[in-house]
Subunit: 470 residues, 2 copies
């Protein structure tokens, strides 16, 4: 029986009900921890803890088996020892469950015995038309549904509901061990592929491309299971939304390490590089880019060209940003004579890009009001496609940007904000407040322009694809 590939995926991300298999022992049993995470996140569906020894778990009625549950169950989350898994999957299959996340470690990643067990797992599941995520995975997260799986505690680590969906081959690049709440990442869905015994990147791409809650797809891949299917799926997804990929193994040593980590051949990096290019997938290079660039593409539109304006309170940062912009594929916008004249009437020292407003600020009683004049003026220049604003993070700029945000939004041109200051908690607070206005905020200088460059690259790419299909 071949599982229905498409319809089943929503069972993983939008299940109406979940059965949880795992130790329900307080305080740290894997099952009860998974239950606690679901309750903390405010899961919108019904939860059925499966336990022979408990009548209830955390106030939720427990069942000795899934058969004892009267209602249908959409998803099973399983974190029990490897030797117990096949029987549980059979039990779930007989109940009619069509989706299961096997979180347990100890399969293909441990050697031949584990690999054999993993094959049996897949055969058993597919025999019931059931799809599998994992094994060796944290599972999934869906902010809109209060859904989170996994057996580590991340109680309150729930990010704001947003448009970025992440898929990763390591829990390290998912919700498991990143401060996604504190950093305010605007998240739709997150998926940890684990060993990819069944579901992989080529399955997730069409699902996320169709998903109206996702507007940016960002993946971490150490290998690609089916190159042709991935390329087709990526090309179709890219026509609709940006697909960004962090693919380590760029160096030979890195490729060897990847192959030892995932157990599959990482392959020649050049082949991946070309495949990504052909599919219109944009490749990210660093951990920071993986986390910090997607939000800019999610919160704003894409630059229609590659001409960037920098408005800065410090000339030194302006110079560095122009350098970083050039290296990322942007060019410093050359303002129209009209803009130069208008800037000149504010001050003769303002006509150039980067626009260094610093010296003027010290002459004003309300220094930050200079941004209110300069930002709309420069952003409306037809030679400007996008902008980075550099400012001291704190209440004054939050107030000014609160006023400017609607005007910025109206221009349809993306703007990122890089902030500095002397009080780190204060800066982080300002960053979150600025992002609540829809403006991506950065505490890392180069990333603020790199994010615009990736948006511009996507915009160019998509136009190219549209061109090609005419």
């Amino acid at each position: 029986m071949t599982p229905d590939k498409k319809s089943n995926l929503s069972l993983f991300f939008e299940p109406r009900s979940i059965a949880v298999f795992g130790s329900m022992k307080e305080p740290l049993g894997e099952g009860i921890t998974a239950m606690r995470n679901l309750l903390d996140f405010g899961f919108r569906g019904r939860v059925y803890p499966i336990s022979r020894s408990n009548a209830e778990v955390l106030g939720v009625r427990a069942y000795p088996t899934v058969d004892a549950v009267d209602e249908p169950i959409d998803l099973a989350f399983v974190i029990t020892p490897p030797r117990t898994i096949l029987a549980i999957i059979e039990q779930c299959g007989r109940k009619g469950i069509k989706a299961a996340i096997v979180a347990t470690e100890g399969f293909a990643e441990t050697g031949p015995d584990g690999a054999r067990l993993q094959r049996e797992l897949v055969e058993t599941a597919h025999g019931f038309g059931m799809r599998l995520l994992g094994p060796n995975t944290l599972g999934v997260l869906n902010t809109a549904h209060g859904l989170v799986t996994g057996a580590y505690r991340y109680g309150s680590n729930k990010p704001p509901i947003g448009g970025v969906s992440y898929c990763s081959q390591t829990g390290f690049l998912t919700f498991g061990v990143h401060p996604i709440r504190d950093l305010g990442h605007p998240i739709s869905k997150i998926c940890d592929f684990g060993n990819k015994c069944d579901l992989n990147e080529a399955d997730l791409l069409p699902y996320l491309a169709d998903d109206p809650s996702t507007n940016v797809i960002c993946m971490h891949l150490e290998d690609i299971k089916d190159g042709d299917r991935f390329s087709r799926a990526a090309r179709e997804a890219v026509a609709r939304k940006p697909v960004l990929v962090l693919k380590p193994g760029r160096s030979e040593a890195g490729a060897r390490a990847a192959s030892s980590h995932t157990g599959s051949l990482a392959g020649d990096d050049l082949i991946y590089e070309n495949a990504f290019k052909q599919a219109g997938v944009i490749r990210l290079r660093t951990w920071r880019e993986y986390w910090d660039i997607p939000k800019a593409l999610s919160l704003q539109s894409f630059p229609k060209g590659n001409r960037v304006a920098i408005i800065t309170a410090t000339g030194g940062a302006g110079v560095m940003l122009i350098d970083a912009a050039a290296e990322a594929g942007l060019v410093a916008a050359a303002f129209t004579p009209l803009t130069r004249n208008q800037l000149g009437t504010i001050s003769p020292r303002l006509a150039n890009n980067p626009v260094d407003v610093g010296p003027l600020m010290s002459l004003r009683d309300a220094p930050f009001t200079i941004y209110e004049e300069v930002v709309p003026l420069v952003l409306s220049d037809p030679n400007v496609d996008c902008m980075t604003i550099v400012c001291h993070f704190g209440q004054p700029i939050v107030k000014v940007l609160t006023g400017l945000a609607p005007q910025i939004s109206k221009t349809g041109k993306p703007v990122t904000v890089f902030g500095y200051g002397i009080d780190l908690p204060d800066m982080q607070k300002s960053a979150r407040e600025i992002e609540a206005l829809g403006l991506p905020a950065y505490l890392d200088l180069e990333t603020a322009v790199k994010a615009l460059a990736v948006g511009a690259a996507y915009s160019r790419m998509r136009d190219g694809l549209a061109e090609g299909t005419r």
Copy 2:
């Protein structure tokens, strides 16, 4: 009269007394703000506020002119309007003051009139054998002396006393607007060159090379005033301690922006690149590298070779670090058979580099104890020159590293730590605690190995210089 170039510099960084010129009006007068900063930082010398309208300022006796002060004065800090500066410098010169920081803006950076005034300023000062820092500068900071100048409030933004000395051509890359305290940067001295009317990089290099409190020199330069003198000074400094330089203007657009910012020609980047190489200066590329790499070289010794070991609780991070290491010029260490055997007795899955301890951690009651076994074992391998440890930041790893730090230190091999987690304030707290043990801690993945690579590059460079002089 030619000022004595060398002896005067200690007057800027270790003055026994400072005269402060500037508005003493509460709450935000520039003079009183400078005074407040000095008192907050616990300046070790005497302070003389110069004010005709106040008998005292913040409880400190004020004087109408410097002549009224009986004792000798080492340094003048001046932040008064441009038109008043020459008279003040004359007054200071007559008093015998040999060092002055002119913080005031409005000189060469504003055009020909300002440039003329700046030339007069230099002539006046040099007429008295007085050296000048600035104008248009925040001035200096010296952690060991509680010295800080400048007219912005940074009250408690005082970093720990350490070995890194920063010099920058923009206040943005000094103490003015970076959370150096919250980020725990181990600082010796910081200098904002401002317009470099007199003191510049070629003066600071020999002073900092001689300074026993400085073990790493890190500079931000938009231009270099005297290429030959800089090269000689840099070469001599590099023989004694690392000299790192962030030089924007790598792109043509960036060079243009720099030239418009500093008013001087930035020049062809290739010329700088070659000059740095010949002098043994290591070039940094980004804002983050400028802030985060020097501390690693300051807290630890330099790798004797370029072979790095990665000990990680997450295989995914290990792969990415090997990639980043290769791109930064390191190679993944190939362990000796002895090390492989010893690792194998802990677990057959441990023999490779990166050493992924993650799967073993989940099998232990005290998961972090695995680091106690693996770190010393791998670090003592003769094929390993340096190491990055990847771990969940929190109390367990701080405890383990507290025990390991003396052993690590004994090997003489540098170790950096990259940490992850879900609670950002908690991670930042752990990072500071780990650095208090002498281990540089990072919340940015690639920087953790890049720092080792820069140390290894310096080590190679220095050996090359020693070779050349034989």
